[in-house]
Symmetry: C2
Subunit: 161 residues, 2 copies
DNA sequence: CAGCATCCACTGTGATACTG
DNA sequence: CAGTATCACAGTGGATGCTG
């Protein structure tokens, strides 16, 4: 299993970057190599990769609604109903549940205003906010390469057919 | 692209974003704001967010095995059996299926060597390789903040109890 | 308004056995 | 070796109705 306090097995420190917000993106290959090396160390550390950070985080934000809510809350804090309207095709069940999971992981905080019609405000915690930046790299990639992916899918369909 | 940052000058009445004092959002806002603006434009473009790039990509790499395989293949190309050994707890069914999906999206290519015992080599395409970099930002974040997340989960458990 | 409870369909995942 | 096929099951997500 994964280690507790020190997440990187390496002692050289090249893998431990303490979330500098304006880190240069130039660490392209470096970042990837880092990631690969990290994975290797996980494999050696524990037999199971089930609870390694990568899985843990991706399992969460990889679900259907988390990122959408995270980004929406990244704009500004929203009330429950606002979120429903902001993400129209989410069911109220999933909104509640996803918010709960996000809250559970410390990414979102919940603030109840004791008014007569209850009013609950959700907003990103600092942790949640810090996730937006790495997430944006991914969404930027997704955006940039989405046409390529769709093209690949079409090509694949033809290929199999 | 991404010029539609209209929300930045929001000027809405509640523009006062009560921010956690320990986390200035300044630097992260660059990429993140872009992402937020993009989401806004998606919402306006189509009624459904189902097929927006973010969902499309995250839905793929958010599954249980894709990232693991992507990173593993990022190290070097692997044969089928090598991948099984490299990711011990994947079932052969899921390995096949995930590889197929990855291939479908043009992230991985498949090369059959017509030897007597069939030998198939999988490797990242350039598209797949390009995904490694943004992905590494996320894994780095995951790694760095995993303790915080686990702490939040523990705190949450206590809180509800 | 915000949220919970229930029922239900679909999909992702795994175990096992079989094939080219 | 590199798959495919079948079955079984758990988790996810949607629809609906109810509550404080």
């Amino acid at each position: 299993m994964c280690k507790e306090g020190s997440f990187s097995g390496d002692g050289d420190g090249k893998g431990t970057r303490p979330m500098d917000p304006d880190k240069p993106v130039t660490a392209a290959a470096g970042g990837a190599a880092d990631m690969i090396a990290k994975l290797q160390s996980y494999k050696q550390a524990g037999a199971s990769l089930d609870n390694c950070p990568i899985r843990d985080v991706l399992g969460q934000i990889g679900d259907k609604w988390s990122t959408l809510l995270l980004i929406t809350l990244g704009e500004r804090s929203h009330r429950f109903g606002e979120l429903r309207r902001a993400v129209p095709d989410i069911s109220q069940r999933m909104l509640t549940q996803t918010l709960r999971d996000l809250r559970r992981d410390g990414l979102v905080s919940r603030h109840v205003h004791p008014t007569v019609p209850p009013s609950v405000e959700y907003r990103l915690t600092s942790l949640g906010h810090s996730l937006l930046e790495p997430l944006s790299h991914l969404t930027r990639w997704a955006d940039a390469h989405h046409p390529a992916i769709r093209a690949a899918r079409l090509a694949f369909e033809r290929e199999v057919a």
